[in-house]
């Protein structure tokens, strides 16, 4: 229910932002506040901050630090309202590693995506792999009865360099700016 409300808010904010960009070539954040209502100020500020972090928008003003004006880099569906920035940062090396390895186990992916500076915990790796499997990006491959499950990234789902975002109610692909809803729990054929 809360996620549904979040998605509605995100859609409203994004609609206002895309309309302003089409009309003026840039988005004055103050104008967005006025369109969606000042009661949304805090939520909208967080949304804009997340979009900047995810490089969905970029500053478009002389004072880029304050981001009073922004510009959409890639248009598309409304990105999610709520993301966990720490997890988003770990999803990027996981996605880059998946694209390079082709097929992998969770353990191999976690180790390969980690560096001496950024450690990608296997728990986060597993959550991301299962989420992308549920969203149709990965297929499991298993040649033996025992041993770890191996996965393969489907070539058609290798959509680009940016890691698809896993959020509680689905998967948002930052490459084509589209939502991919996960398949219902209980199975896929």
């Amino acid at each position: 229910m809360a996620e549904h409300k979040n998605n509605q808010s995100a859609a409203a904010y994004w609609r206002a932002m895309t309309a302003l960009q089409r009309a003026y070539g840039r988005i004055e954040t103050q104008a967005v506040f006025e369109i969606v209502g000042t009661e949304h100020r805090r939520s909208l500020q967080r949304y804009i901050s997340n979009l900047l972090m995810m490089r969905v928008i970029e500053p478009a003003g002389p004072d880029s630090r304050r981001a009073q004006a922004v510009r959409i880099i890639n248009d598309g569906e409304a990105p999610p309202l709520r993301v966990r920035p720490e997890e988003v940062k770990l999803q990027q090396p996981l996605w880059a590693t998946m694209r390079n390895l082709g097929h992998f186990s969770v353990a191999e992916l976690a180790v390969s995506a980690s560096t001496d500076v950024v450690h990608v915990p296997p728990v986060v790796t597993n959550r991301y792999v299962v989420g992308l499997w549920a969203a149709g990006y990965l297929v499991p491959i298993k040649s033996r009865q025992v041993g770890p499950m191996y996965y393969r990234l489907l070539p058609a789902k290798n959509t680009g360099p940016r890691a698809p975002l896993l959020v509680p109610d689905g998967c948002f692909d930052l490459n084509d700016m589209k939502w991919r809803k996960p398949l219902a729990k209980g199975g896929r054929t």
């Binding site: 880059a96 353990a107 980690s114 041993g147 680009g160 729990k185």
Partner: protein
């Protein structure tokens, strides 16, 4: 085939262990190459080359460098043309739908890669660039942008590049990927079988069975871990491990006949 999410459960005992591929010798060699290129003087060449036999861990090294530097990486395909190459590079550096002639696309690539402190561009399967006559285009991109550019390819890549003097002269350094030695093998065993004590003798057998190829060693580590789990063992040596190793060879006629 019907699958459920419950099948994709967390593997037992494989979680919360730290570690990365950083200590492997080929990864360290690749990072040395990256640092020499990024720290080079203004008039120094901007190409670096890593070459070696298939399976020696060049891909692991490239992944590590990419994740560490957050740079773009492309893998040249057999069917690629010049246009595919520049389009692929543009996509990797954030252009959603590259459009234009090869000259226009190349100009865009150069413009974007020329940004100050741009991370290195890694091109894997670079042999194909030479075979298909695309290496001069890559030289043009590197010269125009001055971005550190790392070519990764098979063992004959240096000989192939030698034939193209204008590129060969612009290589700052060459790194030859080496097969995993016993030290690398033990590090991989500790990474992938953290709760298992493996004797030096068995580790050496594993290394030889895997021909020192990093990815085969990783597959065989999971075989050791699975064997130990099924037998309830916390340590393995040559006498206790009765399983075989994945060698990459096709099954023998006998194995096919008797399963």
């Amino acid at each position: 085939m019907t699958e459920t999410l419950t099948q994709h459960k967390r593997p037992e005992g494989a979680f919360e262990r730290p570690g990365s591929l950083a200590p492997l010798k080929n990864v360290a060699a690749m990072m040395g190459l990256v640092h020499r290129l990024t720290d080079r003087g203004a008039h120094m060449p901007g190409f670096g080359v890593m070459h070696g036999y298939s399976g020696y861990g060049k891909t692991y090294a490239a992944i590590f460098a990419q994740n560490k530097k957050r740079g773009p990486r492309v893998e040249v395909g057999d069917s690629w043309t010049k246009k595919t190459l520049v389009t692929a590079i543009l996509r990797e550096i954030g252009v959603r739908e590259p459009k234009g002639t090869i000259a226009e696309l190349t100009e865009q690539v150069v413009g974007r890669l020329a940004e100050p402190n741009h991370p290195p561009l890694i091109i894997d399967e670079a042999d194909k660039l030479v075979d298909k006559g695309m290496i001069e285009l890559v030289r043009e991109i590197q010269e125009g942008s001055q971005v550190p550019l790392i070519l990764i390819g098979e063992e004959l890549l240096p000989q192939k590049l030698m034939r193209i003097e204008r590129v060969h002269n612009r290589v700052l350094d060459w790194v030859t990927a080496q097969p995993c030695d016993i030290d690398d093998t033990m590090k991989l065993i500790r990474l992938f079988c953290p709760q298992l004590a493996v004797s030096d003798g068995l580790a050496e057998r594993l290394r030889r069975g895997s021909e020192g190829r990093a990815r085969r060693i990783v597959v065989n580590c999971s075989r050791l871990a699975e064997f130990a789990r099924l037998k309830g063992l916390s340590s393995l040596d040559e006498s206790t491990y009765q399983g075989d190793f994945y060698t990459g060879n096709p099954p023998s006629r006998k194995a096919v006949a008797y399963g």
